[in-house]
């Protein structure tokens, strides 16, 4: 409401953040938290057995991890900031005022981690004669990576505990919420397993001319992954079972929704699939390392991504309809401002509205503005989580009745507790219904300020297409 509205009408704004964030979490888990101890183990095994080939393999795996974490890993981390400032600036600006020091600590931890990996990687060859000391650096790096994850998981938990900062202002009540330990117990072995499958895949490339080393390394790494599997199953189940308990204490409305139930069941399926695939390919790798087909290595690796992504979704899901518990709705409207917006209108109070007043003749144009201001943080017109798809699911493909849509808009937060209440006047709800019904008639994308600027009354496209 106070910023020019950035909008991606195909990908969807939340999907932009989700893609960047999940990629970041996955790289962090597989290429850093899990990979560092595995590489250290390879280095140690080479040192202990006096077989230099293990050392070379470890270094090559580490090279890949170094390149990936310092490019994709680091930049997706920054990308989370860059994207949230576009997608929901009023929310991230408020969150920064609440969680500044938590994020500041997180940043210091990140700086430390980057320094550690620089030292470990770049000193591998210079310290070739001081292997013991270098392995100690690897152990320190492994511990530091894990501590990084533990601290950041704590901070995430702190932020996901809606309202605690308001009501209790207690940092630790948030940190030690009921899902913190289960979450950590789940993430740790999954990171180790993901790193195992990554290393297996890489080992295939790095041992092409050394069949003996290939056989041994496949067995070594498959054993590594299998060893972590029981912990992963236990951790995932613990986490899975802790979610409803935690939600019951935090977001009672969300617990009852059918979407949560569906998601919750689906999660168990993904979990079971991962366990089976990791187990089967792992046993295969240990027993018949020569026969393990290369494509079989990609499947479990990809599954760890799916699993991590699914668990990340829970954090988004349970937040709704808020982006900051009890303080701000997902569309950036403060809870305390809602009564005023309902009286005087979102158009009246928006800094950059192109239409200020709903009249008898400008319903579609005014509705397009209401849509941009109130809905586009989560919905697109024609892409991911499309508003026309959602309404089509409800009212079917036949021409929608404008008044029915309007009543739905005004009351949807009661039937759909994850939706924020409509933040405008009755007439604005009518205008939004005009626009939505018109979209069904003549679909056209909504454009963001990054393309058309923020000028009120600009002659440019309104909601992506000329009105009427």
């Amino acid at each position: 409401m106070d910023f020019p509205v950035f909008h991606l009408d195909f990908l969807g704004n939340r999907m932009l953040i989700a893609l960047i964030a999940v990629l970041h979490v996955w790289i962090n888990h597989a290429f850093a938290v899990g990979a560092m101890p595995l590489v250290t183990a390879l280095e140690w095994w080479g040192y202990r057995s006096g077989d230099d080939r293990w050392d070379r393999l470890g270094y090559r795996v580490l090279t890949v991890c170094f390149v990936v974490t310092t490019t994709f890993g680091a930049l997706t981390g920054v990308g989370i900031w860059l994207s949230t400032s576009l997608v929901n600036p009023y929310a991230i600006g408020s969150l920064i005022r609440i969680f500044f020091w938590a994020w500041f600590i997180e940043w210091l931890v990140f700086v430390t981690e980057v320094l550690c990996i620089m030292i470990y990687y770049l000193s591998w060859k210079p310290m070739a004669r001081r292997k013991k000391a270098h392995i100690a650096v690897g152990v320190a790096l492994s511990v530091a990576s894990w501590v990084t994850m533990a601290i950041i998981t704590a901070i995430l938990g702190f932020m996901m505990d809606p309202g605690s900062w308001l009501a209790r202002e207690s940092f630790f009540s948030g940190v030690f919420n009921p899902i913190y330990l289960p979450q950590l117990a789940f993430r740790t072995p999954v990171a180790m397993i993901a790193a195992g499958w990554l290393a297996l895949f890489l080992a295939y490339f790095f041992t092409r001319s050394e069949p003996d080393l290939r056989r041994r390394s496949v067995r070594f790494i498959a054993l590594w992954s299998l060893a972590w599997l029981p912990a992963a199953v236990a951790g995932a189940l613990w986490y899975w079972r802790a979610i409803p308990v935690w939600m019951a204490g935090n977001v009672p409305v969300a617990l009852g929704t059918q979407r949560f139930a569906a998601w919750y069941d689906q999660l168990l399926t993904v979990l079971a699939a991962m366990v089976v695939v990791v187990f089967v390919t792992g046993v295969f790798g240990v027993v018949l390392p020569r026969r393990l087909p290369r494509v079989a290595l990609l499947v479990p690796f990809a599954l760890t991504l799916v699993l991590l992504g699914s668990f990340e979704r829970v954090r988004e899901f349970i937040r709704k309809p808020f982006v900051i518990g009890e303080y701000m709705y997902a569309n950036g409207v403060r809870v305390a401002d809602l009564p005023l917006l309902k009286e005087e209108g979102v158009l009246h109070h928006a800094t950059y509205a192109r239409v200020r007043e709903v009249t008898d003749s400008n319903g579609v144009a005014a509705g397009a503005e209401v849509f941009r201001l109130s809905c586009t943080r989560c919905h697109t017109v024609s892409g991911v989580n499309s508003v026309t798809d959602r309404l089509g699911g409800l009212y079917g493909p036949g021409a929608w009745d404008r008044d029915t849509v309007k009543y739905y808009l005004v009351g949807m937060h009661t039937a759909r507790p994850f939706m924020p209440p409509f933040p405008g006047t009755d007439r604005e709800a009518g205008a939004l219904a005009d626009y939505l019904v018109d979209l069904q008639r003549a679909p056209r994308p909504a454009l963001g300020a990054q393309d058309v600027g923020a000028r009120p009354g600009a002659a440019g496209p309104i909601g992506g297409g000329e009105e009427g």
Binding site: F3, L75, L82, P89, L340, L394, Y407, Y408, T414, R455
Partner: protein, 447 residues
């Protein structure tokens, strides 16, 4: 301020005092920009020396040595950028995010562009031996990485510039139009010159440090020649700032200037000129680095520090008038929001023309049920007639269903459970079972 957007500020307190945050911003940003300069300047110098190495092969090893420093400096540049980003978000979020949104496409491109640039630079570094016989290709890879990398400061500069000028916010349409604002390109030149100077100054110290076996590491090169060359680069790039600097100052909109700022700048420039004189002497002196080198480092460090402070003074002065308007608007809005909250709590919200005045049950019905249930015809769910037939004289049964709907009807969508207050369930059940079909009109509109 006609045509100047006045948003409302965040309604939460800053995490620390504004003064502390401003100090943190200036210092953390200097740390970040130092490594950005080392990264960008290092890439450019590495390429320049590699080109030189085409004719004098001993320079090729020097270029590779420089590329190795970029590996560390670029990662520190990125990770040290997050701290000042956090502080600028806290202090200037209202201004910064507005600029981000208006340049959104380019802003988010930073992520893939930097990733690609870094990957190309890794490829450049790690293919040095493999492509030794195909120098054209090798230089092209490095050149592509450098070009991509140089695009990134342009995006940041466009944002940092646009955020200071609310009067321009309604004018711009996309990233390219923000590049055309007067101050952006001069600042870019200023930045690139600084990067080359900082990196060359660092490399002179790094390659000529005691304990570094120069002759073994870089056979065929003379330490004092390299020292002289690098310091000459520093000298030239810094001297060119005497042209670029005034251009930056002249293209700045004047409303952020002040005598304090100009005085500050004068001190910074004087220190810089003193450094230039010493640089000239040091670069023309034979032999290893002398103590003069460190005097130059300190003097230029002070110059850069004062420049950072100057920048901050300009920023504060430029946005203060707008900030005051924002504060006034925010206070008005806050009072209005509080008034509306109190009216709502008292049960007397203002209702706009043409809106509905209805019984409590009807209000709940319109807000919650009407999207799916009509009086006599099927919408998403069955019509009220059928519901009345089933639950006549059984409001508790209806309420129980609404709270936890049972099995869905054949051919209908499953009804979601409805969450509201107990009084609202009661009111809507009364409305459905006793009012809706007995009142003369289902709804009453007021003028």
């Amino acid at each position: 301020m006609d045509g100047v957007p006045i948003p409302k500020d965040f309604l939460l307190p800053l995490p620390a005092s504004a003064g502390d945050l401003e100090l943190a911003l200036v210092l953390l940003f200097l740390a970040h920009i130092l490594f950005v300069n080392l990264m960008v300047g290092g890439v450019l110098l590495s390429l320049a020396f590699e080109i030189r190495g085409l004719r004098r092969p001993s320079y090729d090893a020097l270029a590779k040595k420089i590329a190795a420093t970029v590996t560390v400096n670029k990662s520190l540049a990125v990770v040290l950028g997050v701290g000042p980003l956090l502080v600028i978000n806290a202090l200037y979020g209202l201004y910064f995010y507005t600029a981000n949104s208006l340049t959104g496409g380019a802003w988010i491109l930073i992520v893939p562009v930097v990733i690609s640039a870094f990957l190309l630079l890794y490829l450049h570094k790690y293919s040095w031996a493999a492509l030794a016989d195909r120098k054209g290709l090798h230089l092209a890879i490095g050149g592509a990485g450098a070009t991509l990398l140089l695009f990134v400061p342009l995006i940041f500069l466009a944002n940092i510039n646009l955020m200071l000028f609310p009067g321009r916010w309604l004018e711009v349409e996309g990233f390219l139009s923000t590049l055309a604002l007067p101050n952006v390109l001069p600042r870019f030149v200023h930045f690139v010159l600084a990067s080359v100077a900082v990196a060359a100054l660092f490399l002179a110290g790094w390659l000529c440090r005691r304990g570094f076996d120069f002759e073994t590491a870089l056979p065929g090169l003379d330490r004092s020649v390299i020292k002289r060359e690098l310091l000459t680069v520093v000298l030239a790039a810094t001297a060119l700032q005497l042209l670029a600097g005034p251009l930056v100052l002249a293209t700045l909109p004047p409303h952020g200037l002040s005598w304090l700022l100009l005085g500050n700048l004068a001190v910074a420039v004087s220190l810089g000129i003193a450094a230039l004189v010493l640089l000239w002497r040091e670069s023309s002196a034979a032999g290893p680095l002398s103590a003069r080198y460190w005097t130059v480092v300190v003097l230029l460090g002070c110059t850069v520090g004062l420049m950072g402070l100057t920048r901050h003074l300009y920023r504060e002065k430029a946005i203060t008038p707008h900030r005051e308007l924002v504060a006034a608007h925010t206070a008005d809005f806050r009072a209005a929001a509080l008034g509306a909250e109190m009216r709502l709590a008292a049960g007397t919200p203002r209702i706009g023309a043409g809106e509905v005045v209805a019984s409590p049950g009807e209000r709940v019905f319109r807000a919650t049920c009407m999207a799916c249930h009509d009086l006599d015809t099927r919408r998403v769910g069955p019509p009220l007639r059928e519901i009345v037939d089933i639950y006549a004289d059984n409001p508790d049964g209806l309420i129980a269903w609404v709270k936890a709907p049972g099995k869905k009807r054949e051919g209908y969508q499953q009804m979601p459970p409805i969450t509201m207050q107990d009084a609202q369930y009661r009111a809507v059940a009364t409305y459905i079972l006793n009012e809706v079909f007995s009142l003369p009109e289902a709804t009453a509109e007021t003028g």
